[in-house]
Symmetry: C2
Subunit: 232 residues, 2 copies
């Protein structure tokens, strides 16, 4: 058994030019996840095979099972990471009275909307957003998360925000829930437009950049109607 096959190890095959990244080479498990995020977000879960992912990483498909229980486990890890990442942020970090005083209602919406979106300004997270959008119809877990955390919860938050704006006398008395929907449904469509309809075709780099102009116009339109007083 002297002249068996010679093995060629990872990243040592022809064409590999990976060298000296000495401080912290990414572990294989994370490489697998990143490759999966890339591929899933481009083609969708079903259309990507374990072999595709392995090829992207530069290993054999069986090696993946040293790190993940299977294909579904990779997907679960990605969505788990995504949910954890989003849970980090504290929505009410700064009391809105201060911001309202400083920026007025329109300015506040701009700032708050931008801050909300800045949280996802991150190439990896944008890919997962795209993946999430694609898999919404197929994956019950994702859909439930999206509907509660990405729709219902923000709607309630915005409803309270508008409620407060009324209490503080910034805007006219109005149906707060309706205002929340007016504002947020528009945002949600921009989300679908960017991640589902136009993904990869936008001239802008990120969701935030692509959307903010459009959103500012929307905010202004909404508030011209209900505003009472602006900031100093």
């Amino acid at each position: 058994m002297g002249d068996k096959l010679t093995f060629v190890r990872k990243n040592e095959g022809a064409g590999s030019s990976m060298k000296n990244n000495p401080p912290a080479e990414k572990g294989t498990k994370e490489q697998i996840m990143d490759a999966a995020i890339d591929l899933f977000s481009q083609k969708g879960y079903d259309a990507v095979s374990i072999r595709d992912i392995a090829r992207a990483v530069g290993i054999r498909e069986s090696s993946i099972y040293n790190h993940y229980k299977g294909k579904e486990d990779i997907m679960d890890t990605i969505t788990g990471f995504f949910i954890d990442e989003l849970s980090k942020y504290d929505l009410n970090a700064i009391p809105m009275e201060v911001l309202l005083e400083k920026y007025g209602p329109v300015g506040f919406m701009d700032v708050a909307g931008r801050a909300y979106m800045e949280r996802i300004k991150n190439p990896r997270m944008e890919k997962i957003w795209r993946l999430i959008s694609i898999e919404l119809y197929r994956n019950e877990k994702i859909r439930a998360f999206f509907k509660s955390t990405m729709i219902e919860l923000p709607l309630q938050a915005w409803e309270q925000t508008f409620r407060k704006m009324m209490d503080l006398g910034y805007i006219r008395e109005y149906d707060a829930r309706l205002l929340a929907r007016e504002f947020f449904n528009y945002c949600l469509f921009l989300f679908f437009e960017y991640f589902f309809l136009n993904y990869g075709e936008s001239e802008y780099e990120t969701f935030v950049d692509s959307v903010m102009d459009n959103l500012s116009g929307h905010i202004r339109f909404m508030f011209e109607k209900v505003a009472i007083r602006e900031a100093a």
Copy 2:
């Protein structure tokens, strides 16, 4: 070769209870298409096999190739049917001056919006809408059609409509394109919500019923701001 296998023909197997629909039994080709619409709209194109479709119709998978060139051909036929069906309608059947005179701008929006949606109030078309929504990210042909015919074209039509409302003095002078987006982006989100997020879970029977209440609130909100005079 006397005791060869006995063939059991379509719909004659155990459990079949199809009988006397004498006038016009649906042809196999259409049955295949309907079954495909059902299955594709539930699980998506990739997740449905030719065998699944054949089983739903009650024939062997190979028989499908007597009617369609292959799986992709079934999908193309469905989307072709869908596009043809939508092309039938003439958007400007009734001159809007008449309707505006009769209903005023808010009433006009209600009527026009409802009429626009009534066109798709049809179980078969609703399933295809769902299918289209699912396949948007995957199918370039569908996406191009959707973006041009279902987004850009209506946006232009609404822009002209608002332009005309201004010319006729029904609403204040404003950015017509922005008004079109304000109105139609909301509609589009309702579309995604119904066909993509909540499909099959709605308490309402159809898209129109499910959406119209919500939409009326939106129209009223928009117009309280820009309206000048209402109908008599």
